[in-house]
């Protein structure tokens, strides 16, 4: 059975290759929806602020990284833990028909929404032939 389907709230831990010392790296839960105008990605990254986000595009691979500021309240001790805090990382390959120059990003309530508009179709150039 697909783990993500049966436990949609469980954050899947991905390879902690580029993580800070002893901070796990999670793969954000993502929705991808396509319309005629383009593609929208919605990534759950609770705890990540706009300054802690890094979105990069290289050879059509869109990589999203988020750094979390670990919350440690004072004068209390951890009694019950259901979720771990850590960084986020996930990469997507863009299809050819999307315009990498016009990607828009919006962060709201811990969800990053990326709007990837479709590239304007290359219209066949018409060459007007003038008669002398």
């Amino acid at each position: 059975m697909n783990d993500q389907l049966t436990k949609p709230e469980t954050k899947a831990e991905s390879t902690p290759a580029e993580s800070r010392a002893r901070v796990p790296v999670y793969r954000p839960l993502t929705d991808i929806v396509e319309t005629d105008d383009g593609v929208s990605l919605m990534l759950e990254m609770p705890g990540v602020g706009a300054d802690d986000l890094d979105i990069s595009l290289e050879r059509r691979v869109l990589t999203i990284r988020g750094t979390v500021r670990i919350f440690r309240p004072e004068n209390v001790e951890l009694a019950h833990l259901e979720y771990g805090e850590g960084d986020y990382e996930r990469a997507f390959t863009l299809s050819e028909d999307l315009d990498p120059e016009r990607i828009e990003a919006e962060l709201r309530n811990g969800v990053l929404t990326l709007s990837l508009p479709r590239a304007e179709q290359k219209l066949p150039k018409k060459i007007a032939v003038k008669t002398a």
Binding site: Q4, P8, E9, L29, T30, D31, I32, V33, E34, T35, D36, V39, M42, E44, M45, P46, G47, V48, G49, F71, P73, N75, V76, E77, L78, A79, H80, L81, E82, Y83, L107, N109, G110, V111
Partner: protein
């Protein structure tokens, strides 16, 4: 056809149930909360205060409700589904939405007027304080 005993026992629903209960006990020791679900909560405890944090990505502030009654802290609300125009095609749907409610048993009665709650970047932070009258007081013992 003979079925090997091992495969029979592997599918034994009672054994599965027992294993599930055991796993739950390991995940949720003590009596801190109900069965797991959305949203996930972390709880910190001190002598005079309790801190509760919860991840609520995609939930609007006005859709979150927290209540405190006796020693029960309740966090409820609704996460609305993202808008998508008609004819939109979903390529990936990992996020969930809908109504939610979680209850957390507090180790002591808290002052409902001194609850501090903050919601930032999809994370809720709540600080609950023990009322002064309820704090254990050191009683002076007089000698003869």
């Amino acid at each position: 056809m003979l079925t090997p005993a091992s495969s029979f026992f592997r599918n034994d629903p009672f054994a599965q149930l027992e294993r599930m209960t055991r796993d739950m006990d390991r995940m949720f020791p003590g009596n801190w909360s109900n069965a797991p679900g959305f949203p996930a909560v972390n709880v910190w405890r001190g002598d005079e205060a309790v801190a509760i944090t919860s991840e609520l990505p995609g939930v609007e502030l006005e859709d979150i409700e927290i209540t405190v009654k006796d020693t029960t802290f309740t966090l409820s609300g609704e996460r609305k589904a993202p808008d998508a125009p008609k004819g939109a095609r979903w390529h990936l749907r990992e996020r969930s939405h809908g109504k939610f409610s979680r209850a957390v048993k507090l180790p002591f009665v808290v002052d409902p007027d001194k609850v501090e709650a903050r919601f930032k970047n999809g994370v809720l932070q709540v600080a609950l304080h023990r009322p002064d009258a309820d704090k254990p007081r050191r009683i002076e013992i007089r000698g003869e």
